[in-house]
């Protein structure tokens, strides 16, 4: 408080001047500074970075192409980890190492893609629910609640089966992505609705209107940027959830057998788990660290962006 009254006087102290120059601290810069101090969040960040690197480079990193049963023809099916096959081979002749690498691409595609679909739907519905009043708002809120409460997995499995014609044509992963996205937007819409109700009452929105800003300017320049932080946090956690759900769907046999994903490999290896543990365990570990990474980043972001935890 004392320092604040000081800056009010004609000449601010040297320290303030230096501060402003050094930091030029936008909210994002401040958040990043605080995020960096969070060891777990930072670890998660590097885990995620590593996964994205693998996903981008997997065609070059992996010794075998996706879904290649080459090892079978080489007479090396069902072998434990070795120099040639670091994660071993499955009974059917898949190189587990290659499958885990290719699966990274598939699972990140589904995890991130489904989340983007959810954000798009959730933002639109949440924004409409927050902006309209009366019956329209109630209906949209009710719709969100329905999607929040119905058990999604059986529904997604049902749809995956119904659209299996598409799966056969090679749309498999994209179909799962769309299903996860279309059924997973309710949390985003709750948050967006609540945040809009909060932000629209803030003085700077009213002040901008009083100075001649148009409705769209206010929505895009002032309201949306100010509700993004909780959306980002939720989205990060949602990616983890979506990856896990994709693995579950594939594990239950509703996935796309023509694309490499962790879930498919686990499913194919689980029967022989006792004798050939390597087939399900390595993709399982890949799933575990991916989900862990996104969750750590989500928690780290939520701490870093929370204005009530100012340092």
């Amino acid at each position: 408080m004392q320092r604040e009254t000081k800056t009010e006087s004609v000449a601010p102290s040297k320290r303030d001047v230096v501060d402003v120059r050094r930091r030029g601290a936008s909210q994002w810069a401040v958040a990043w500074r605080r995020f960096k101090r969070n060891k777990a969040g930072l670890a998660g960040f590097f885990i995620i970075l590593f996964y994205f690197f693998i996903a981008l480079t997997s065609p070059w990193l992996a010794p075998y192409p996706p879904r290649s049963f080459q090892a079978l023809y080489e007479g090396e099916a069902g072998q434990p980890p070795s120099w040639k096959h670091p994660f071993g081979t499955s009974r059917a002749g898949l190189d587990v190492y290659s499958e885990v690498l290719h699966g990274t691409r598939g699972d990140l595609y589904v995890g991130v893609g489904a989340t983007l679909v959810s954000i798009a739907i959730g933002m639109i519905i949440g924004a409409l629910a927050g902006y309209s009043r009366g019956t329209g708002s109630d209906i949209l809120l009710m719709l969100s609640q329905v999607f929040y409460t119905i058990p999604l997995l059986p529904l997604i499995l049902l749809f995956a089966r119904v659209f299996s014609v598409l799966v056969a044509k090679g749309f498999g992963l994209t179909l799962i992505l769309i299903l996860l996205g279309v059924f997973g937007w309710s949390t985003i819409s709750f948050i967006v609705r609540g945040e809009i109700l909060r932000v629209r009452e803030l003085d700077f929105v009213q002040a901008s209107r009083a100075l001649g800003a148009s409705r769209w300017q206010i929505i895009f320049r002032h309201i949306i940027p100010n509700i993004l932080t909780p959306v980002i946090v939720t989205a990060t956690l949602l990616i983890a959830g979506n990856i896990l759900t994709e693995v579950v769907i594939s594990f239950l046999g509703f996935g796309d057998v023509n694309t490499s994903t962790w879930g498919i490999t686990i499913e194919e290896g689980i029967t022989y788990m006792r004798t050939e543990w390597w087939t399900p365990v390595f993709p399982g570990l890949a799933t575990l660290f991916a989900v862990l990474g996104f969750n750590l980043v989500g928690d780290g972001l939520s701490d870093a962006l929370n204005p009530r935890l100012r340092d």
Binding site: T5, S26, E201, D203, A207, L211, G212
Partner: protein
């Protein structure tokens, strides 16, 4: 004096689920050219809503139901939303109570000033607008504007933020400024500075000022004329000097006696009770349940504004019989 703003019979109601809140219920209100007018009353008396109504930015579920708002000879209520948008900021501007939330936390000070400057002068390049922003910061007494212009709101003190909010409101040189409780959330020393600044700018920019406040002290310092609102209706209108010397409405008297004074060491008088429920306001004079002088007529009949003299009006049945004490 030439009249700049002339509001007549303004009614702004809020249609809430609990019922219709008659926030402003038939208010007349004038502002002259270069004049500083005070709008005073407790929270919920309708002073802020009056300001919002003039700019036509009453938030939903509020609506302006009746009245005329003549500004420079034209009725603002008859204008289209697009026409109003060009008046807001350029001709009439408003600053808001809480300096901590009246600036968008995501943008630099410069960015937010440029936004308003270019809104009303689209020809201007970004660089020219930034130069103007710099001049605005100097004008409102911000030291080292070249540094502050790159700062974010959270890096500044409350007083500075309020100065910048004022700079933003004045960016397009409006001729009428509504200042809604500009000092409520500031330290006492900073309060005085901000009031001084407003007074100085009003004279320099030849601007009319409407000071919205609940503080009679601020009214005394900054205004020439004052309008006392109670529960959405006008209680008294007069020159500031004469209202302080001799208030005619019991509510004004009560407001004056609620101001702490160092020279009389007597107990501070508070006004008993609360501002009435505006969904179902009291019958007759809305102040009668709290008024120490109330008589039968007060709850039977709504008082009209009676002229005490040329520029002193009071809405009280008993004003001729009462002898009220001023400050």
């Amino acid at each position: 004096m030439e009249t700049l703003l002339n509001v007549k019979g303004l009614k702004t109601y809020f249609f809430t689920e609990a019922g219709v809140v008659k926030a402003v219920d038939g208010v007349d209100f004038q502002v002259g050219k270069d004049e500083a007018v005070g709008l005073v009353g407790e929270s919920g008396s309708g002073k802020t809503v009056t300001g919002l109504s003039v700019l036509r930015i009453v938030p939903r579920p509020g609506r302006i139901l009746a009245g005329t708002i003549m500004f420079e000879g034209e009725d603002l209520l008859a204008k289209s939303e697009e026409e109003m948008r060009r008046i807001r900021g350029a001709k009439i501007a408003m600053t808001f109570q809480d300096p901590t939330t009246s600036l968008d936390p995501l943008y630099t000070i410069g960015n937010q000033l440029v936004e308003v400057i270019r809104e009303h002068d689209k020809e201007l390049s970004k660089k020219e607008a930034l130069e103007q922003a710099m001049k605005l910061l100097e004008m409102v007494g911000i030291s080292e504007p070249e540094l502050r212009i790159r700062a974010y709101p959270h890096e500044l003190s409350g007083g500075m933020k309020q100065r910048i909010a004022i700079a933003r409101a004045l960016a397009s040189r409006p001729i009428l400024l509504f200042a809604d409780e500009p000092t409520t959330n500031l330290d006492v020393t900073v309060q005085a500075q901000v009031l001084e600044l407003l007074e100085e700018l009003r004279e320099k920019l030849k601007m009319s000022l409407v000071m919205i406040t609940h503080d009679m002290g601020i009214i005394a310092e900054t205004t020439q004329r004052v309008q006392v609102l109670y529960a959405g209706m006008v209680a008294e209108v007069a020159e500031t000097r004469s209202i302080f010397k001799r208030p005619r409405h019991p509510y004004t008297e009560a407001l004056l006696q609620a101001v702490p004074r160092i020279d009389h060491r007597k107990e501070l008088k508070v006004i008993p009770g609360n501002i009435p429920n505006l969904i179902d306001p009291p019958s007759g004079c809305r102040f009668h349940p709290r008024c120490p002088y109330a008589k039968e007529i007060c709850w039977k009949k709504i008082p009209t504004l009676n002229p005490v003299d040329d520029d002193h009006l009071v809405a009280c049945h008993l004003w001729q019989d009462l002898s009220l004490t001023g400050a």
